[in-house]
Structure formats: structure tokens, C-alpha cells
């Protein structure tokens, strides 16, 4: 293997520092069983600072922590670095001008096409972008979750996706294989929406886990929003259903319809009408401003947002939900 090892040309948005993270965790996380329920406003105010590195989960218009994202915009917390695996959740943050740089894998609308918001921001030079694959970003979280500074992968070898990342090529000490070393991202803040948790933050998820386990374990500060609170007895009866244990959770926000206009498996279907309206509005800067004004700035909180959505539509979405 005399060949020169390559390295991505982008700077790290977050420096791996396992010992620093260990010390942070020891000082700030608590093992105590305390009721962690709070409001979006309080959780965001207390746990998110300008310039923080943020990641959201799940993806797209599915199980996304939309009420938390809207609150960040309401509070105008800017200069954020984000792990950009997203559809509406991260797009809204970019649209609000709060994002300075992105570890990007995908920002778009799948069948609904590309993101006009990302286009304006990227083509206008208003965000700095490093390129990664989807799995790579999840493995970077996994690395942080494992307490190691990097994980090896073969993904993205030979591509410009690698070239415009901050990853580095390494050689396997056993096989001589060429590999990509993915730097760990112990993100400042993780935002995850799940179906259920007890008041301490023991979380259950129905259906795919996406990268919730990895993000929850990689986050220095973790805000979880939930559709409903269950009794601690339910947790103790089925401890294997606890995918995110309480000690990882710093704030718990009860947010029914928290993924709206996205869907929530077992709870409600996606709000096609609201999504179409959104997609129409974000085609222009002005429409985007109007949308944010109407759905975020003009209303005080998630309860008011749900009033705006209206009870009838909520009921229709519940009726149309995916059931077992």
C-alpha cells in the first residue's frame, strides 16, 4: 500500500474529543429519576445555545421533532451547525437563517423534489457545506456513542462525496484494505421525537428506529419530544422496549402531533394538505417568510399551532393513521 492516502478537504465542524466528552457527561448528566417534563420554550432556552451543533431524528416528514424545531426558530437561536439529514425539520432551520454550516447528506423532498431553501442558501453562499453519505453521518454518531474518536467504513471511497468531507483515508492494520475513517460527532444537542416515554425519559419507539439510538447516545444534551407519557410501571414491565434510557434525556416535552405536518406511526398520518401548502410557500423567499410568520412567529407555542391546524383535521389524520 504505497499509494498516498487521501483526505477530505473540508474542516471538521466538530472535533472528536472522547475524553472531553466523558468529563462533560460525568459533570452534566444525572442518573436521578426526576420528572423531566417541560415545555418546548423552556427546553430550548435551557439547552440550546447559538453556535451549537445540532442533529434531529428521524427523517423527512416522519417522526420528526417539529414542535422543537419551530421553537428554536421562535427563539431565533442562530449560527447553528447541523447534521443535515433532513427534510422539513432541517429545512425550516435553514429557511429561518439560523444555520451557518451543515454536515450534509441529504436535504430535499424525496418524491417532491429538491429543496428550494437549500438551493437559495447554498447557491447564495450563505451556508458552508461538507458532504457525507447517509450511513456515514449515522456511523459518525455511532462512533460518538461508542466513545471512540472514529469508525472505519468503505462507503464513499473513490467519490467526491468523500473529497468534500472532513473524513480521512486509513489503511486496515490487518488486511491492508483502504478504508474511510469517519470522525465521531458527539453533537451538542440531539432532538428526537418518539411515541412514548415515562416522565423520567425512558423512551419507546414503534416501528423503525432510524438513527434514534445512535443520536441519543451521541448527544451531549438530548431533548426528546413525545406523543404521550406512560407510567413507569409500563417501562418496568417491558424493559427491552426502552430504546433510549432516562439518563440520556435532559428534557422531555409532551408534544401530541409533534411531528405534524409529518406522520407518526400508530398515531396520525401525514398532513398532505399542509405539506403541499408548505412546499408551495417555500418556493420563494417571501413565501417562506410568510410561512414562518404564520406557523411560528405569530403563535406562542405548540398548543396554539395545533389550534391553527384545527381539531377536525387532526381527527382526520388520526383516522388515516397506519395501524398494526
Amino acid at each position: 500500500m504505497s499509494e498516498q492516502l487521501q483526505r477530505g478537504i473540508r474542516e471538521l465542524l466538530l472535533q472528536p474529543d472522547p475524553d472531553g466528552v466523558r468529563e462533560w457527561m460525568r459533570e452534566h448528566k444525572t442518573m436521578q429519576l426526576v420528572d423531566k417534563r417541560t415545555t418546548e420554550a423552556e427546553a430550548v432556552r435551557r439547552l440550546i445555545q447559538p453556535g451549537d451543533y445540532l442533529a434531529t431524528e428521524l427523517y423527512g416528514s416522519v417522526r420528526a421533532p417539529m414542535s422543537l424545531v419551530r421553537e428554536i426558530i421562535r427563539q431565533g437561536i442562530g449560527g447553528l451547525r447541523i447534521a443535515g439529514q433532513g427534510v422539513m425539520e432541517t429545512e425550516l432551520l435553514i429557511a429561518a437563517g439560523l444555520v451557518a454550516s451543515i454536515d450534509l447528506t441529504y436535504q430535499g423532498w424525496e418524491v417532491h423534489g429538491i429543496s428550494p431553501v437549500l438551493r437559495r442558501a447554498a447557491e447564495g453562499g450563505r451556508v458552508e457545506i461538507s458532504e457525507w453519505s447517509n450511513a456515514s453521518l449515522a456511523w459518525r454518531l455511532k462512533a460518538a456513542a461508542m466513545g471512540v474518536p472514529f469508525l472505519p467504513t468503505r462507503s464513499t471511497l473513490g467519490t467526491d462525496t468523500f473529497k468534500y468531507s472532513a473524513a480521512k483515508e486509513i489503511t486496515c492494520p490487518f488486511t491492508g484494505m483502504k478504508l474511510v475513517a469517519l470522525p465521531a460527532t458527539a453533537v451538542d444537542v440531539g432532538l428526537i421525537h418518539v411515541q412514548r416515554a415515562d416522565c423520567y425519559g425512558n423512551c419507546q419507539i414503534d416501528g423503525i428506529s432510524g438513527f434514534a439510538l445512535e443520536l441519543a447516545r451521541a448527544a451531549k444534551k438530548l431533548i426528546v419530544s413525545v406523543e404521550e407519557i406512560i407510567d413507569n410501571e409500563e417501562v418496568r414491565k417491558y424493559p427491552e422496549r426502552t430504546l433510549i434510557p432516562w439518563f440520556l434525556v435532559d428534557a422531555l416535552v409532551v408534544a401530541p402531533f409533534g411531528s405534524h405536518p409529518g406522520e407518526m406511526n400508530g398515531y396520525y398520518w401525514r398532513d398532505e394538505e399542509a405539506l403541499k401548502d408548505y412546499l408551495k410557500q417555500i418556493q420563494t423567499e417571501e413565501g417562506t417568510r410568510e410561512y414562518l410568520q404564520r406557523t411560528v412567529h405569530d403563535i406562542p407555542d405548540h398548543a396554539a399551532y395545533l389550534e391553527q391546524v384545527g381539531r377536525a383535521r387532526q381527527e382526520a389524520l388520526i383516522e388515516a393513521r397506519t395501524r398494526r
Partner: protein, 255 residues
């Protein structure tokens, strides 16, 4: 018997479906690949297994998903895993086909879904890799679905989001990509294309109904190898169209 009419999407779905063998597995994105998998399962490949990026495995697809993380990607499925479990299943060589798309493709099947122009200040910014670069690394055979256009089939893509055969024979292996993997087919509105085993360059395999070889060549911005003879793809059959319209996508979400 008159040939039934069909639209472009229906044709793409049928052509894509026909590329997949039974008893294999496919890494499925939203849109055409999803419908192609559903159609293949009902036609010639009942044991085809579908994997969705964020963890869904082998759902019933009774209602079509709107995205690769949606609840319909695992509804009545055999497993609901996470993104890494699915990606690592591909990494271990267990997923045969992977579907890709992009804004540009070159003769070696390299795909661009990131930018036109300079990455730092692009002329057009696309969504980025998503799972494409992972799929293009690990799936044994990738199938690209593309509109056929000389501005999209170009000699050199602006940005290699997903590795095809890179710059030719042996390049994937030299880059460290898994042995035996690479681009397999390109399905377009005009034709079905493959890759030459020696040169790893794109090759016209068959034209779509009513399309001439000349049209395909004119719509391709680089020199295209040609199979001898170039075949002709059968149009969607009545059965395929009936399945698509009545069973797979009766609400016409995609078709």
C-alpha cells in the same frame, strides 16, 4: 389486440421491474424503484425482498410509502430495524440491487446528485448523497433510473456523488470499493443500458418501444457502446399495467 397506452413513468417502472431476479433483495428508494419492486414481486419475483433506508424490511406495500422512513416501509413487514442495520446488511453483501438516480451520469456510471458547478458556490444545489453513495458502495448491482438527455448523459459529471466504475476497469477495486460491485443497468425513457465488461463503459442494450438507436445516441452526450444486436424492450403488458393501476398504485400517487 391493440397495444395498451401507458405513460413514461409506467414504462420506467416496468423496465426497472424486469431487471430484478427472484430470490434476491433490493435496496429501495421512493418513487419508481418502489413501484418496480412491487410489480416485480407480483410478476416474476415473488421472493424479492425490499429493504428501505431507515430500517423497513419487506413491508406489504398495501399503501405506498411517501418516503424512505415512512411507516409504510415496514407496515406488516418482517422487520423494522434502523438505518445502520440496513446499511450494514448491504455492507455484508446481502443486498443484491440498489436503485440510484441523479442529475448527471457519465460513461462509467458515476452519478452526480450533489451540485452543478463548484461545490462551495454551486450553480445548482441538489439534495446530496443521502444513501446513494452507500448503496453505490455496497449493493452488488446498481440500477440507475434517469431521464435520457444529452445534458444529463455527459462525459464527466461535475461531482461524483456515487462511484460508478470511476475512470474505468479496476478503478473501483483500486479505490478500495468491495470486489465485484458496480453499476449494472441504466433505465431511461428511451432505452435500457448496461456496461461493457472489459471497458466498463456504458452500452446500449435495448431501445424502448418506438425509439430508434439514433435517437438514443443523439440524446447521449458521450460515445455510447452498442450491443450487437441492440434489442427492443417490450412495452408494458396489459397485466403489468393492470397490476400497477389497480393493485399497486390505485390512488395514482406516483403513476
Amino acid at each position: 389486440m391493440t397495444q395498451p397506452t401507458y405513460n413514461k413513468t409506467e414504462l420506467l417502472i416496468c423496465l426497472a421491474a424486469r431487471q430484478m431476479q427472484d430470490d434476491t433483495s433490493a435496496f429501495i428508494g421512493t418513487g419508481v424503484p418502489m413501484l418496480a419492486a412491487a410489480l416485480a414481486k407480483r410478476m416474476h419475483a415473488p421472493n424479492l425482498v425490499t429493504f428501505f433506508e431507515f430500517g423497513g424490511v419487506a413491508p406489504d406495500l398495501a399503501v405506498l410509502p411517501h418516503g424512505v422512513g415512512g411507516s409504510r416501509t415496514y407496515h406488516r413487514g418482517l422487520a423494522a430495524l434502523g438505518i445502520l442495520d440496513v446499511m450494514e446488511t448491504a455492507a455484508r453483501g446481502l443486498i443484491e440491487y440498489g436503485f440510484l438516480g441523479g442529475a448527471q451520469i457519465d460513461p462509467y456510471g458515476n452519478l452526480n446528485s450533489t451540485v452543478l458547478g463548484d461545490q462551495a458556490r454551486p450553480k445548482v444545489r441538489f439534495p446530496g448523497s443521502g444513501g446513494a453513495s452507500d448503496i453505490g458502495t455496497y449493493c452488488w448491482k446498481t440500477i440507475a433510473i434517469m431521464p435520457h438527455d444529452p445534458r444529463k448523459f455527459i462525459p464527466k459529471v461535475d461531482f461524483v456523488t456515487t462511484a460508478g466504475y470511476l475512470d474505468g476497469p479496476g478503478a473501483r477495486e483500486r479505490a478500495g470499493l468491495p470486489r465485484g460491485t458496480g453499476p449494472y443497468r441504466v433505465v431511461t425513457n428511451l432505452a435500457l443500458l448496461g456496461y461493457d465488461e472489459t471497458t466498463r463503459r456504458m452500452k446500449l442494450l435495448a431501445v424502448n418501444p418506438g425509439v430508434t438507436v439514433e435517437q438514443v445516441v443523439a440524446s447521449t452526450g458521450f460515445e455510447l457502446l452498442q450491443a450487437s444486436p441492440v434489442g427492443e424492450n417490450a412495452p408494458p403488458t396489459e397485466q403489468e399495467l393492470r397490476l400497477l393501476r389497480e393493485e399497486i398504485d390505485p390512488t395514482r400517487l406516483y403513476i
